[in-house]
Symmetry: C2
Subunit: 406 residues, 2 copies
Amino acid sequence: MRSDLQNKSQAPEILAAASLHSSYAGQYRQELLDNVLPFWMKHSKDEKNGGYFTCLQRDGRVFDTDKFMWLQGREVWCFSYMYNHVSPKEEWLQMALHGAGFMEKYGRDASGNWFFSLTADGKPLTQPYNIFSDCFAAMAFASLDKAVPNDRYKEIAISTFKNILQRKDNWKGQYNKAYPGTRALKGFSLPMILCNLSLELEHLLGAQQVNELIPPVIHEVMNVFYQPARGLILENVYADGRFSDSFEGRLVNPGHAIEAMWFIMDLGVRLNDTALIRKACDIMLRTLEYGWDQEFGGIFYFMDILGNPPQQLEWDQKLWWVHAEALVALSKGYELTGDERCLLWFEKVHAYVWEHFRDEAFGEWYGYLNRQGTPLLTLKGGKWKGCFHVPRALYQVWKTWERIQS
Amino acid sequence: MRSDLQNKSQAPEILAAASLHSSYAGQYRQELLDNVLPFWMKHSKDEKNGGYFTCLQRDGRVFDTDKFMWLQGREVWCFSYMYNHVSPKEEWLQMALHGAGFMEKYGRDASGNWFFSLTADGKPLTQPYNIFSDCFAAMAFASLDKAVPNDRYKEIAISTFKNILQRKDNWKGQYNKAYPGTRALKGFSLPMILCNLSLELEHLLGAQQVNELIPPVIHEVMNVFYQPARGLILENVYADGRFSDSFEGRLVNPGHAIEAMWFIMDLGVRLNDTALIRKACDIMLRTLEYGWDQEFGGIFYFMDILGNPPQQLEWDQKLWWVHAEALVALSKGYELTGDERCLLWFEKVHAYVWEHFRDEAFGEWYGYLNRQGTPLLTLKGGKWKGCFHVPRALYQVWKTWERIQS
C-alpha cells in the first residue's frame, strides 16, 4: 500500500478511495480563503499602533489589547506564507508588513532577545523568558524576506536564529526554576522547532547548515523521545534518554507528538526515506488511538504515560491546534503511505472538527472545548491562539488532498 | 439579626434555626476524626526518607514521590494544630515531628530560603522561587513549637518570618518575568497570608508586632482590592489601587476572596469590630452569588470581572479548597451576624460538597471536579492538594457550629 515517493503514481484502490473524497481539497481551500484569513484580516489589525490584536471574542471584537510576541510573529509568518504560496495578494503582504513593522520597532531588548509580550503601544510587559518568541520572530522575518527580499529582514531572521542557537542549551537562563543537576531533563519542543525553523530559513542559511541540523533531530525524536515499548513519544526524558518517573517525565502531549510526526514526514520526503515516513506514520496513528477520547470523541490535551493523574487541570480538554495538526498529519500520512487507517482517522477527526470547532455563525474556529465538545471559552483568539495553526493546517490539508486527487 | 460579639446570646429565631441543624457540629467532627485525618495518617507518611507523600491516588496509593514544600509545611502545621486544639494525641505529634524533621534537614538553601520541591530523599528539585513555601514552613514550625516548645523550632519560625518580610516587596526576585515599571500590579495573596501568619506566630512575635501588621492589611483588602461598584475583590490592582484592564487585573478568584473574608471576620472578632465583620460577610455572600454556577452548582475557580474569557483553562472547574473555605466563611458569617442568607448558603454549599467532593468508598475528598461536578482527577492529593484545607475547614466548621448550638 505504500506509494512510491519518487513517482507519485498511486495504487488503484487509493485512487478510488480518494475520488470518494474529492471535495476535501476544495472544502479546506474555501475555509482558508473565505472564512479564516478574512476573519483575521478584518478583526486583528491594530490600525492605531501597528501590530495585531489577538484576543478576539467569538464575533471578533477585541477584548484585550496586549501583544504576545509568539502570535505577532506567527501572524506575520502566516500572511507572508500565504502571499508566497497561495497568491501574491497585496492585502496579505500589507498585513504581514503591518505586523513586522511593529515587531521590528518594539519587539526586542538591547541584546536582541524577543520580549514575550508588549502593551498595545509597544511597551515591554514580559521579559524575553521564552525562546519560542524568538523562533516565531525568525520564522516571520524569513518568510517576509521571501515575499519582499530585504537586507533588514534577512539580518533580523539570521541574527535571531544565531541567538537562538547560542541560548538553546540554557534558554530559560535566570528564569529556570530547576535546581541544577538533580533531575536534568530535556524536552523535545526546541529540537523539533529548530529543525522546522532551519527549513524555513534555508534560503538564508544554505542547504549545508540545514542538512547538518536534520539528522540529530530525527535521531532525538525517533530514537530518544520515542518509547518503542508503548509506541508513544514523551515530552521530557533525562539527558541520557532514560525515563523519569515524575510529572514531567510521564507527560504525553498527543497533539505535540502528532504535529512532530508530520514535520518528520516532510523530512522523510526531503531525504527520500520511506522507512522514516512509515515509522512517523505509525507513531502518529498509535498516538491518535492512545489519545482519542472513546467516550466523547476528540483528542485529549495531556496524558500520563503510566495512567496516573496528570498535573495539568486542562488535560481532558479538546484544543483546536491538536486537531488541526492531526488533520495535516493524517492527510500527509495517507498521501505518503496510502495506509487506509490514515483515511479512516482523517474522516473521524474531520467530522469532529467541523462539528465542534467550526463556528458557523461568526467564522473561524473555537480554540478550547471541554471534554464533552462544547466551547469552554468562546474566544477566537487569545494569549496563545492566533492566526497560525488553523490557516496553516487548512493550507496543508488543501494542498495534500489536491496532490492525492491529482 | 446581628449577634452581640461580647456576649454570645443569640436571638430566639437563630436558636430555633440552629436546632434544626444540630448535627452539623457532629458531622464535621466525625468527618475530621474518622475519615480525613486517618486517611493522611495511613497513606502519606514516608517511612523510609521522612516527610510526607502527598501525591495519592483515590485509594491512597502513592503515585509520585516528590516532596512539595507547601504541602510538607501544611501537613506539619495540620497535625500539630490538631494536637494543640483538638486533643494531645501522641500519634498526631509524632506525625508532625516526622515531617518537620525532613523539612529541617533538607528544606532550605544556604540563605535560609525554602525550596519549592525536593526529591523523595531530600535533594533539591525546584529553586525557592515561591515565597509561600516559606510562609507554610513558618506556620508549621510555629505551630509545632506550641505543641512541644523548642528553641530550634522557634528559631526556624522567626528567621523564616523575618526572611519573608525582607523578601516581600520583590519576592519573585530573579524569577520575576514582569518588565519593571510597565504594569506594576500588586496581588492580595501575600498581605493576606502575612496577616494570617502573624496571628499564627503571635506567641513568638508578640502582640505589638501583630497589632501593627493588621490595620494596613485590612485596609488593603477591604478598601483597595475590594471594588465597591461590583461588590467584588480583585486579585491584582495597580500599586496605587487603580483597576488594570488586563488578564491579571480583571481576574476574580471567588474562593480566594471567600477565604480572605473569614480571615477578616476573625480579625473583626479580635478587634471587636462589628462593622468590619458585617462588611466581610456581605462581600463573602456577594462573591458566592457571583461565583456560583447557576447551571451545574458549585463555585467557579476563576472569572473575569468584565465577563471576558479568563486565560485560565481550568476556570469552570470546582475545586475542593474553594468549597471548603466557603463552608468556613458561611459558618462564621452565620455565627457572627446571624444573617439568614449565610444559613441558606451554608446548606446549599454543604449539600454540594457532601454529594460531589466526598468519596464514600475510599475516604477523603476529591480535589478537582469538572464543571458538571464529576471528578476530573480522582486523586486525593497531588502537587497542590495535601493535608490542609479539608481538615482545617472541618475543624473550623465543627467548632463554629458547636458555638452556634451552645
